[in-house]
């Protein structure tokens, strides 16, 4: 099973090269057809941004784009159509204009109306990837859970035995020691969190895939949920520690309130930015390395970069695991510190 996954991952890393060579080819063909004299210049920054940001429709390579539903709410009206309509009509369709991944309302003359708010609830590339990862997670863990009912009282088998050590590791090494005796209550959420981040980190490494866990919105939601869970389960010691830290003269309290307030917000903010920056950073490094091939157009550099990219991809797979682990670990620690029972005197910071 593990060998299988390794094989799939290494194949996917290899296929990045193929995907990019196609990319380049179609770029050139396109350039040759429309503007015969001006050769289209390769813009690395644009290419990287295109790959790490969200988009309407899922573009695997230049000529292969999966249209996704666009869902818009504007002036109390719902509009649903395929993202292919924008591509066919140069970004303007049905009174809406798609400009740099943002959708604006346009009037009859084709002028953008910035005053009318458009709520964009489209199934973008990231949302599609989110739904796909949900389907993957559900099928994996339904299969695992089924294994426990069919192999009841027997040794685990198949997918069940592949995931069991990971589940047990998260349960016994991450959640139990950090959350404390009441860990059972938080275990389902923390397991979901770990596998959600892990699966999406790994999916993001596949060629042509979305950069879901490297999207600030997604990491913000995950960090916000951690914040909510921590503060909704926090006990009186936690709040008392924030409001009236022991060993501090009451005159100093306002200063401590400011510090504690920043601290409380910094914890989820660091979670949010750490995951976003690690995953996006990894993608930028790999894309920049591969971009070098198209900048230099040299076999020697291409080969060197290829080897280095393979190495970086290996590191990124490791980072995918480490970041999922760290997010879960820190969330466990924050919950643990909020629900911890203090038997001895607290010495403050």
């Amino acid at each position: 099973m593990f060998k299988h996954i390794l094989l799939i991952l290494s194949l996917s890393v290899l296929s990045i090269f193929t995907a990019y060579s196609q990319h380049d080819e179609s770029h050139e063909n396109h350039g040759a057809k429309t503007e015969e004299h001006v050769e289209e210049k390769f813009n690395m920054g644009e290419m990287i941004m295109h790959h790490i940001t969200d988009e309407h429709g899922w573009e695997f390579t230049h000529s292969l784009k999966l249209p996704l539903p666009v869902i818009l709410i504007s002036e109390g009206k719902l509009a649903v159509f395929s993202s292919a309509r924008f591509d066919e009509n140069k970004g303007v369709y049905n009174g809406f204009k798609l400009d740099h991944h943002h959708i604006y309302k346009v009037n009859e003359a084709g002028e953008v109306d910035h005053h009318t708010k458009v709520w964009d609830l489209s199934i973008t590339k990231n949302v599609a990837s989110l739904l796909l990862s949900t389907v993957i997670l559900l099928s994996i863990f339904f299969a695992v859970a089924k294994g426990y009912t069919t192999n009841k009282g027997k040794a685990p088998k198949g997918i069940q035995s592949f995931f069991e050590p990971v589940i047990v590791f998260i349960k016994d090494e991450v959640v139990k020691p950090n959350v404390g005796p009441k860990y059972q209550r938080y275990l389902p959420y923390l397991l979901t969190l770990f596998f959600f981040i892990l699966v999406n980190n790994l999916m993001g490494l596949l060629p042509g895939a979305a950069n879901l866990t490297g999207n600030i919105t997604v990491t913000l939601v995950l960090a916000f949920l951690t914040f909510i869970i921590v503060h909704f389960s926090a006990n009186k010691h936690y709040w008392l520690h924030l409001v009236a830290p022991t060993g501090v003269p009451p005159v100093m309290y306002p200063l401590f309130w400011i510090i504690e307030f920043i601290g409380v917000l910094m914890k989820p903010a660091s979670l949010c930015i750490r995951l976003f920056a690690n995953i996006t950073g990894g993608h930028i490094i790999i894309l920049s390395l591969l971009g070098l091939i198209f900048v230099f157009k040299s076999f020697v550099i291409g080969a060197g970069v290829g080897v280095f990219t393979l190495f970086m991809s290996g590191i990124e797979i490791m980072v995918a695991f480490i970041q999922a682990f760290i997010f879960t670990l820190l969330t466990s620690m924050y919950i643990g510190s909020a629900i911890e029972e203090h038997h001895e005197a607290d010495h403050g910071h």
């Binding site: 609830l121 949302v127 949900t134 695992v144 047990v168 349960k171 389902p188 959600f196 919105t217 939601v221």
Partner: protein, 164 residues
């Protein structure tokens, strides 16, 4: 900059989808998985505890057995010792009895022999007396044909009788 700005559409989808994923997994997957894992942990724990208890019981049984064997050995030694003592005592008694019996028998027979001899001697004495009287009568009858010889004989007999 676009990278750092959250988009409301994805925000909503992420919250809805992630929370639904959590609730579905919690109800249909984690509950069963965690339950089964805990059950198995409990089973392993109880099996290990049982093995430990069995081992302790075995050790206790072994100790008991050894104690029993030791006790039996002591008992056996005691019985053997007692039997030996009894046998010795009996032997000594038998010996004593036998020696006293033999002494008695010897005594009795000695006594009987004494009496027998006394009786025999008395008998012999009387027989000798009778015989000598008869001999003397016969001799006297033959010898006492003349006076002189009678006289010498008497004196000879007298001197002999004194010797007796």
């Amino acid at each position: 900059m676009e990278l750092l700005l959250p988009s409301p559409g994805l925000l909503l989808w992420q919250i809805v989808v992630f929370l639904s994923l959590f609730l579905i997994l919690k109800k249909y997957a984690w509950k069963g998985i965690i339950g089964a894992l805990q059950e198995r942990e409990g089973e392993i724990d109880s099996a290990l505890r049982m093995a430990e208890e069995t081992r302790a019981e075995m050790a206790k049984l072994k100790a008991d057995n050894e104690k029993l064997i030791a006790e039996a050995r002591i008992e056996r030694d005691k019985i053997i010792k007692e039997a030996k003592e009894a046998a010795d005592r009996m032997l000594v008694e038998a010996k004593d009895k036998a020696s006293s019996e033999s002494a008695k028998i010897l005594n009795d027979s000695r006594e009987a022999l004494k009496q027998e001899r006394a009786a025999m001697i008395a008998q012999v004495k009387s027989d000798v007396a009778v015989l000598s009287i008869e001999i003397a009568e016969k001799v006297l009858r033959k010898e006492l044909s003349d006076k002189k010889s009678q006289q010498s004989l008497v004196s000879e007999l007298m001197s002999d009788a004194k010797l007796n």
